[in-house]
Structures are given as structure tokens and as C-alpha cells.
């Protein structure tokens, strides 16, 4: 089985206001190539920090990372043209239009204008892309960030809470798009605290807590077959984590 992402003993210690905080604590993770995969955990579990480490925004304190078979961060520039990412909240230049922001990112990445127009249309931003980013709604910001992540039409797509600020219709569109990419043989790794989203779109899941893998495997193996309602999400995640901790203690 080809592996898109592999981390071994990944550790990240952050400087906090009072001393240091371990954000990622010896994370071992293998994400198979192709399909949609999730990093599921409660807020503060270290999900975003893992994505930051994968794309080189943050340097690991210890451990190794491979993206598409290439070790990072030492050879990050080799692999980044094949990787798209949306990490944490969407940030762009407020005084530029959405389209201008994307055009500049595309030019920096060596991507053509036609691709910019394609992702703008794919994310339903044709009208909004003409306006300044500063005036965007939260949902539009999220869509623009997704569009930026898709600019390179990447083999590996890393998304931090891709549906977090979208309305239900927008979230459904994104879920469909991710599933299509997964089915087309591309790899998507998303982070979320929502088990329902994982059940809806993912093939496999890593359950993380306090920067460590608590469980990993197919969605059914890790989350069980019980279909939970969206409103039950926080309590489901809590009970999942609780049962896993009990199992390991």
C-alpha cells in the first residue's frame, strides 16, 4: 500500500506564556495514498499543529515526516508543488479582491490564470471574487482558502476543518468535492472535531488526543457503526476519547 503521509515519533514543543507546551507528542501516523482521511480530535488536541508541521510552517522538535515519499522539512520544496493546504483560519490581503489574492498566490506557485478561474468557479466564488477580501463573510473566507488550497490541483490536499464555517449547503458541496477527489485517486487529509463529518466522507481516521494517536484505522473500526446525529457530536467525541483512554490505561 502506497503511503501519502508518514510520521514517526513526531513531537512539537511550543513556547507558551508560562514555560513550554507539548502540542504533538510522539505522533506515529500513516495515511494511505488515495481517498479521504481524517485527523479527528477535540480542539487543542494538536490537529492543526500536525498540519503546520507537515507543510513546513512549523519545525518538528523531534521525529520524522514523509510527504509522498519525500522527507520534510529537509526536502520540502521538492514536494510542495504537489501539495495543497489550508491551515487554520483563512488569511489573505484584505485590500485585494479574492481573485487578486488567488492570482498572486498562483503566480508565486507557478500556476496559470485559467486554473484560478477554474477554482473560483468550482467554489462558487465568481461574484465574491471581485470584491475586497476584507468584506468577505466567514463562509466566503473559508471558500477562498479552499480555492487557494486547490490552485495547484494537488495530489495531496491537507485541510484544517474544511467545513467549519460553511452553511449546510456549502458544507455539502465541499464534502462532495472532497469525496470526488478521493475517488479520483487523490489523497485528502482533513482535520475535524466532528465524527459525523468523518463518517460522511472519510475512508480512514486517526483519533488524536493531547498530540498522540489514540486510535487509527477504518472509520467503522475507530468510530463504530452507530450513526450519530450532528447535535450529539461533542458528547460522542468525548465518549470516544474516554473509552479509548480507559482501554489504554
Amino acid at each position: 500500500m502506497a503511503v501519502a503521509i508518514r510520521t514517526v515519533g513526531l513531537r512539537k514543543v511550543l513556547r507558551a506564556q508560562r514555560g513550554r507546551r507539548v502540542a504533538v507528542d510522539g505522533l506515529d501516523m500513516e495515511v494511505p495514498a488515495g481517498g479521504v482521511h481524517a485527523l479527528l480530535g477535540a480542539p487543542g488536541a494538536g490537529r492543526s499543529e500536525v498540519l503546520r508541521l507537515l507543510v513546513g510552517l512549523s519545525r518538528p522538535t523531534a521525529g520524522t515526516i514523509e510527504l509522498l515519499g519525500v522527507p520534510v522539512p529537509s526536502r520540502l520544496p521538492e514536494v510542495m508543488p504537489r501539495v495543497g493546504a489550508m491551515v487554520e483560519e483563512p488569511v489573505f490581503t484584505g485590500s485585494f479582491s479574492g481573485r487578486r489574492n488567488l492570482l498572486l498566490l498562483a503566480r508565486a506557485a507557478g500556476v496559470g490564470r485559467d486554473r484560478v478561474d477554474a477554482v473560483i468557479e468550482r467554489l462558487g466564488l465568481s461574484e465574491a471574487a471581485r470584491h475586497h477580501f476584507a468584506g468577505y463573510s466567514v463562509g466566503e473566507r473559508q471558500r477562498l482558502a479552499l480555492a487557494a488550497a486547490l490552485l495547484k490541483d494537488p495530489e495531496l490536499l491537507l485541510l484544517d476543518e474544511p467545513t467549519a464555517d460553511l452553511d449546510p449547503a456549502g458544507a455539502r458541496e465541499v464534502v462532495t468535492m472532497l469525496r470526488e477527489r478521493g475517488d479520483a485517486g487523490r489523497t485528502v487529509l482533513l482535520t475535524t472535531d466532528d465524527p459525523a463529518l468523518v463518517r460522511q466522507v472519510c475512508d480512514s481516521v486517526h483519533l488524536v488526543d493531547e498530540g498522540r494517536t489514540v486510535a487509527a484505522g477504518s472509520v467503522t473500526d475507530v468510530l463504530g457503526e452507530v450513526r450519530m446525529e450532528m447535535t450529539a457530536v461533542p458528547s460522542e467525541l468525548e465518549s470516544l476519547l474516554g473509552s479509548r483512554h480507559e482501554g489504554t490505561s
Binding site: L57, M80, V91, G94, L105, A106, A148
Partner: protein, 318 residues
Amino acid sequence: MRRLVGVELARFRSSRVVLAVLVVAVVAAGLFAFRTAYDSRPFSRAEVATARAQASMAAEAKRGDVKECLADPATMLGPGATASDCRADLVPQTTDFLTRAPLRLRVVMQNNGLHLAVLVLVLLVVAGAAFAGSDWASRSLRNQLLAESRRTRVWLAKAAAVSLGSLVIAALALAVFWVPLRIIAAERGLSVTAGSLVVWHIVRTLVLAAVAPVGAYALAMLFRSTVGAVGLVFGVSLAAEVLLGPLPVRGTGWLTPSHNVFAWLLGSTHYFDASLRCGGPDCKIRVLDMWPAGAVLAVVTAVVMALSWADFRRRDVP
């Protein structure tokens, strides 16, 4: 790399701070040029007539003194004085009442030309720091690094954009100031022999305008803050002598940033070095030439750039 520089130049010229700096620099240059030309305008006939009348009245008032002097020049003006000295020294001339100096490019360079150069440099330093600071404040650098992960290239492309953009702004401002003055001087039939001196002053100003904002940009990348970088640059510039004073080394005046900037812009400068221990106040006046001054500025900028680049390569990006 050229592609990245193009992207950063587009971002630089679209920045509101940069736009404001461009407008202020060009408007200030225009006002400085107008003021310089106006303050050195030729005398009108009315002004000459008034001056003649004033000279005539003053001569009338001095008639007694002149008569007394002519009778005994040596007593009034000192040994060896002659009657012609009495007329030269005591008889008021029309020119004594026409005090406005004509347009001399060399003098302009040392006054309004220098003031404009310093103003433009200050504005460009703010623009350079703000360009980097806004990336950190908005956290948009994260997206930029996702598009181009080679941090050295990103750092260099931004530095190149700051340098080129600043050079263009400075060139525009200096052109708005010097071109009309050169034309006006020629039209007034005045000597423009100081031309090469002024040209070299402009060249040195442009060199500094291309380098100093990069230093400010590098500091802002290091501190990840516009305020921190601008505060440090101007704080050190203004308080350098106070900061250098307690050092146990004498003769540290040449390290003061403002002395080096003035020496570089003017070719050389005189400065008072309070840290020297010597006889009278005259011995504390030192001359600083442009090459040592340029070397100091270059070394300081290079060190800041190296620190900034090394830091940006390694540190986590929020």
C-alpha cells in the same frame, strides 16, 4: 525568482502605506522645489526701485559718518584705511537691501535638497518595515509559504521588491525636485556648474533609498512587527549619542547613524564628538567622509539582513 519578485512588487505597489508614502514624497518634493524656486526668484523692478530708495535714505542718514571718515579714515576704520574704504564700508549700496540669494544648486543641495532626501528616506524606511509588518500582522505569510515554500527565495523576493519599489519612489521624488530647479536655474541664466556635485548627491541618495528600506524590512521580518522595527531604527538614530556615551571607548561619534547618513548624502560632514577628551571644543569637531560613512551603513544593513534571513529560515510561521 523573477516571478516571485514580480508578485512581491505587485503586493508592494498595492500597499496603502506605500501609496501614501509615494504621494507624500512627491507632494513634498513639489512643495520643496516651489519654495526653493520662489525664495530665490529674481528681483522685480519694484523691488529694485524700493531697494534703491532705501539705500538712498540710508546714505543720507550716514552722510555725517562718511564725511567724518573721509577726513580721517585711519581714525575711524583703523590704520591703513583710505578714503575709498570709507565709501565701501559706510555708504549703503542698493544690493545691501536686496538680500534674497539667487538659485545656487550646490547651496540647495546642502539645504532643501538634503532635507528632502532625509524625508524621503524616513518615509521609505517606514514603507519597508510596514510591507513586512503587514504580512505578519495579517498572518498572510502563511499562505505565501504554502504557495512557495523556499523561504530564502521568499525573503529575497520581498527584499528585492522593497529595494526596487523604494528606488522608483525616491527617483520620482528627486526628479520632481531637481528637474524643475535645474531648468529654472538655466532659464535664469545662473551657473549650473555644481551639476555634477548634485548628480552624485542624487546617485548616493538613490543608493541609500534602495538599501535603507531593505534594512527596515529585514528588521520587521526579524521582530515580526512594523512598530518594533520603525521604533528601533528611529530610536537608535535619535538616541545614538546617548547610547554611545557610556561606552568606555572614546571617539565613537562616527558610529552615530545620522552622521553617517549626512556624510553619505553630502559627500562629507562635520560633527561634534562629545565622547572625545581633548583641549577645547574645536578639537571635538571631526570630519566624516562619505566612504567610511557608506561602509558603516553597509555593514550595519548587511548584519541586520543576515540575522533576519537566518531567523526567517528557521523560525515557525504563525
